[in-house]
Subunit: 136 residues, 2 copies
């Protein structure tokens, strides 16, 4: 679908650090958060580099990116590279991955019904996780 060009990327300390930091979080993180975390963790990485790599990873489908309510881009390394969606807790940010054939079919159908092609969709479910709900 998306022209997967033979992306040649070089392994660098920075890229690894970013991927590493991301892989240890069950929550979506902003570029700035990653940058801060790496900074305090000793081995700092330039802010621009964090942005560039996160974008590259997202483009390669290695990580998922969604937009926060105020337009900030947040990233998350997902367990699977297959198409899926998230249920995100607006209290703690916890995100669980879910799949749903019914949504996929619905999106396709409703788009085709109106003559649209090359269809893509974004679906995000948001609420309060059990813990956060209890804590109120």
């Amino acid at each position: 679908m998306t022209g997967q060009l033979p992306t040649t990327r070089r392994p660098t300390r920075q890229r690894t650090a970013i991927a590493e930091a991301l892989s240890h979080s069950p929550e979506f993180r902003s570029a700035q958060e990653i940058h801060a975390r790496l900074a305090e963790g000793g081995a700092g990485v330039g802010l621009a580099t964090v942005y560039r790599n996160l974008q590259a990873m997202a483009a390669d489908g290695e990580v998922d990116v969604i937009r926060t309510e105020d337009g900030e881009a947040v990233y998350r390394a997902c367990a699977t590279e297959d198409h899926h969606h998230h249920v995100v807790c607006r209290g703690c940010g916890l995100a669980v991955e879910v799949t749903g054939d019914s949504v996929e079919r619905w999106a396709e159908a409703v788009a085709a019904e109106h003559g649209f092609v090359q269809v893509r969709h974004t679906v995000e479910v948001e609420g309060l996780c059990g813990d956060c709900a209890r804590r109120r």
Copy 2:
């Protein structure tokens, strides 16, 4: 669901102009676009005012707001105030409104399944409309 406080809003020339401009477009428009359109249309409206009113309208559910791929907020006056979604053309911006009980149910179900409450969801379908597809 969302506490609909008795929002007291005063009628002003600006507010009307914005609502008017918005109501005549089947496409999502950014605050800046609205501002520009109003400016060239003689009766100018301050940029800050455009932002404020669009936000207020969105909060009141009078208009829908979605985030463009690069994080820009775009607004659209919808035919119905009931809950619904859109299929947007990434070529020309044309947006058609759709409803889908199946998605609604799916969202509820999948959230509940993971112990989430106070669930909300965003669903946007995006592709190329017939015209734009032909034009390539």
